[in-house]
Every structure is written in structure tokens, then in C-alpha cells.
């Protein structure tokens, strides 16, 4: 028997804040981790990652046919051309919405998501309802979320179960011909690049 078996676990669950503070304190005191060094990484994520990056990629693809061709051919390289890359974005595939095809991204097993272009995943993306239903009844789920995909449009669901991270290239809305790249980027939403919204 190990000592673990003699330990009586407290009945009362420690509050989540207390648990976080406890393990952080113990690991720092023992010199196992240096959270201050990691803090700079987290701050960098907070300051620089988010859907505004993906929106720039999409806007560029809408206005520059050569860029769009490269983006669909080698997503990682084309996204790096605009300065975006790093953890959870090292192997990017961009899937294009067309009048006949609508793409939807999910991670049924955990929470895989393209951090450099979209930031950290929203809560609903990591929650059981979305992860379970996206691969089972995507059209019904999207309609429920306010996005009606016509019956004659094929829905392609992409489950990020290995190393590839996906970005959806939405269709450019009508009436945007006069817009600049910056103006176009402003109308591209996070949800449209996951595929749960059509612009």
C-alpha cells in the first residue's frame, strides 16, 4: 500500500480559485515551474492572437486571387506571409465556402483550434453540445444557431483530430466591391471562419 491509501481526502471541494492558487504555489516553491516566465508568453497571446488576424487573411484572399490560390494550396505558408503563425497554427488548411459547399470546423475529442488566426477557442466550441452535434446533425445545429444552409448546399464538417488546424474562407458578401481590405476585414467574424455563420 502506498501512503496515498492512508490519506483521507477532505469532503468539501476546494473552490477553483483555491485549487489554482494551491498548485501554483506548491510548484513554484519547489522550483518546478517558473510561471513568471510563462506569463510573458500568455501576455503575448492575449495581445496578438485573435479573429482580427484571420479576418485579414480572409480579406486578402477576397481581393487578391493569387494570394487566395496560395492560401488554398498551402495555408500555413500563405498565412505566414501576413505574419501569423506559431503554436496550434503550424499546419494550416483553409477550406473554401462556395455556392455549393459550406464548411464547418469542430474538434470532437478536445478543443483543437487555430490559435494564431482565431485566438483561443470560445467556450461553446469546447463544450459538449457543439462537439457532439456538429458531426451528427450539422445542418440542424447550424439552423438552430441562426445559420440556415440551403438543402442543396453540401455541408462539409472537418474534425480536427490530428495535427491540421482549419480555417474557413467564407464567401465574400454582395455589395462589398468598393470596400478596402481593412473595411472587408471588419465584416469578417470569428464565427464565419469557424463555419457557424454565413456572411
Amino acid at each position: 500500500m502506498t501512503t496515498t491509501h492512508h490519506h483521507h481526502h477532505p469532503e468539501e471541494l476546494a473552490p477553483i480559485e483555491a485549487r489554482v492558487a494551491a498548485i501554483e504555489a506548491v510548484l513554484v516553491e519547489k522550483g518546478i515551474v517558473d510561471v513568471e516566465a510563462i506569463d510573458a508568453i500568455v501576455r503575448n497571446f492575449e495581445d496578438n492572437l485573435g479573429p482580427m488576424n484571420g479576418a485579414k487573411v480572409v480579406a486578402r484572399a477576397w481581393t487578391d486571387p493569387d494570394y487566395k490560390a496560395r492560401l488554398l494550396q498551402d495555408g500555413t505558408a500563405a498565412i505566414a506571409d501576413l505574419g501569423f503563425g506559431g503554436p496550434e497554427g503550424d499546419h494550416m488548411v483553409v477550406v473554401e465556402n462556395t455556392p455549393d459547399v459550406h464548411n464547418l470546423v469542430v474538434c470532437t475529442l478536445c478543443s483543437c483550434y487555430p490559435w494564431p488566426v482565431l485566438g483561443l477557442p470560445p467556450k461553446w466550441y469546447k463544450a459538449p453540445a457543439y462537439r457532439s452535434r456538429a458531426v451528427r446533425e450539422p445542418r440542424a445545429l447550424l439552423a438552430e444557431m441562426g445559420t440556415v444552409v440551403p438543402d442543396d448546399v453540401e455541408i462539409r464538417v472537418w474534425d480536427s483530430s490530428a495535427e491540421i488546424r482549419y480555417l474557413v474562407l467564407p464567401m465574400r458578401p454582395d455589395g462589398t466591391d468598393a470596400m478596402t481590405d481593412d473595411e472587408l476585414a471588419n465584416i469578417v467574424t470569428r464565427d464565419s471562419m469557424i463555419g457557424v455563420e454565413r456572411l
Binding site: E12, A21, E24, S132, E137, M145, D159
Partner: protein
């Protein structure tokens, strides 16, 4: 493992609430849990597969009843305790209450640890996902095991998570995106005009003759 994390196709979770934007971290403890997880995974050299499996081993009720960053916190605590550098008692004493960690790792690395780089399948090939339901970590979701599909993309070779998760080292294997029809996955309950694409390591697949 056929754990509660393997959610594809399960019923009963209700609607998806999706506000148009969210703060990067909703609460300060989430930011601290995220930072701590990066720190622990770095300090203990935790491979991605082992990190994910430490969450998959959570008690199912705890997994479903807790938020995402609580999963990460539980992973950090589990991996720290399993490293032998801290004890569960220390954590609970310091936290002033119960501090749940994940269940023990029941997985073992697969026997076949041969590295393969050259893809055996090509775009258009018909494949079937093997069916083996391991006790440990895998990235072959339950909803595609035993199902037939078509290779739509070849993605290069990456470390096999089933091996790295259980101390078997870093062994690469080609990966593919495989397309499945809704009817193949869900039978009569499937829908036309919906296809699912799952990214799978080569050793998960066999030729569909």
C-alpha cells in the same frame, strides 16, 4: 479509450449558446490555469498525447460538470502528482479542501512502434478505420472506428499520439483526412448532403477491399 471526452454523435446536450465574442479569459483563475498548464507541460516535458489523456482520464461526471480550464487544472495536478514531485495530500492541504485529480493511466503503448514516413494511401483510396477501442489514448474517435471512407488529403507524418501518451517515445506515421458520408456514420439516421472529414494516422486505417 472510449471516454466521455469522445463526444462525436452523442445526444442530449441541448442547444449551443454562442455569444459573438468572448474575453480572452473570462476570469483570472482561467488565465492562471492556462499559464500553469503551459508551465507544467514544459517543465515535465509532457507530450501532447499524454496531456490530452490526463484530461480524458478525469471522472466522467467531473469532466462533464466542469468547465474547460478546470480540465486543464486537473491535468496539471494529475501530471504533477504522477511525476512524484508533489503529492495529492500536499495539494489538498494547501487548497484547504478536496482537489480532484484524474484516474490512473490504464493505457500501454501499442506494440507496433515502427516509424513510417512514406504514405501508403493516396487521395481517392477507399479505407476502413480499424476497430480496437484501446484502454489508453487514441485520436481515432469512436464514431468512425469500423467505418468506411475515402482519403481526401495526405498531410505528412506526425508523432503517433497513442505511443507518445504512454511513454513509448516519438514515432511518426503519415496522417490523412478521410471523408465519411453521414449515412456511413449514422445509418438510417444520417442525412444526404452532409459529409464528415476526420484526420487519422495511417495505423488507424486499413485498405477497404
Amino acid at each position: 479509450m472510449d471516454g466521455v471526452h469522445d463526444l462525436g454523435g452523442l445526444d442530449g446536450f441541448g442547444p449551443v449558446e454562442h455569444p459573438p465574442s468572448e474575453p480572452f479569459f473570462a476570469e483570472d483563475w482561467e488565465r492562471r490555469a492556462f499559464r500553469l498548464t503551459l508551465a507544467v507541460n514544459g517543465a515535465l516535458r509532457v507530450p501532447g498525447g499524454r496531456f490530452r489523456h490526463s484530461i480524458e482520464r478525469m471522472d466522467p461526471a467531473h469532466y462533464l460538470g466542469s468547465s474547460y480550464y478546470e480540465h486543464w487544472l486537473t491535468s496539471a495536478a494529475t501530471l504533477a502528482v504522477e511525476s512524484g514531485k508533489v503529492t495529492h495530500e500536499e495539494l489538498e492541504e494547501r487548497a484547504g479542501g478536496r482537489f480532484p485529480i484524474s484516474r490512473p493511466d490504464r493505457g500501454t503503448p501499442p506494440e507496433d512502434r515502427t516509424e513510417r514516413i512514406e504514405p501508403r494511401f493516396a487521395v481517392g483510396d477507399r479505407v476502413r478505420v480499424r476497430e480496437w477501442h484501446p484502454a489508453g489514448h487514441t485520436r481515432a474517435p469512436r464514431y468512425v472506428q469500423g467505418k468506411r471512407g475515402v482519403v481526401v488529403r495526405v498531410d505528412g507524418a506526425f508523432n503517433v499520439p497513442d505511443i507518445e501518451a504512454h511513454g513509448g517515445g516519438f514515432v511518426r506515421d503519415p496522417t490523412y483526412s478521410v471523408r465519411f458520408t453521414s449515412q456511413e456514420l449514422w445509418g438510417d439516421g444520417g442525412a444526404s448532403g452532409e459529409t464528415m472529414h476526420v484526420d487519422l494516422w495511417e495505423r488507424y486505417l486499413e485498405e477497404d477491399a
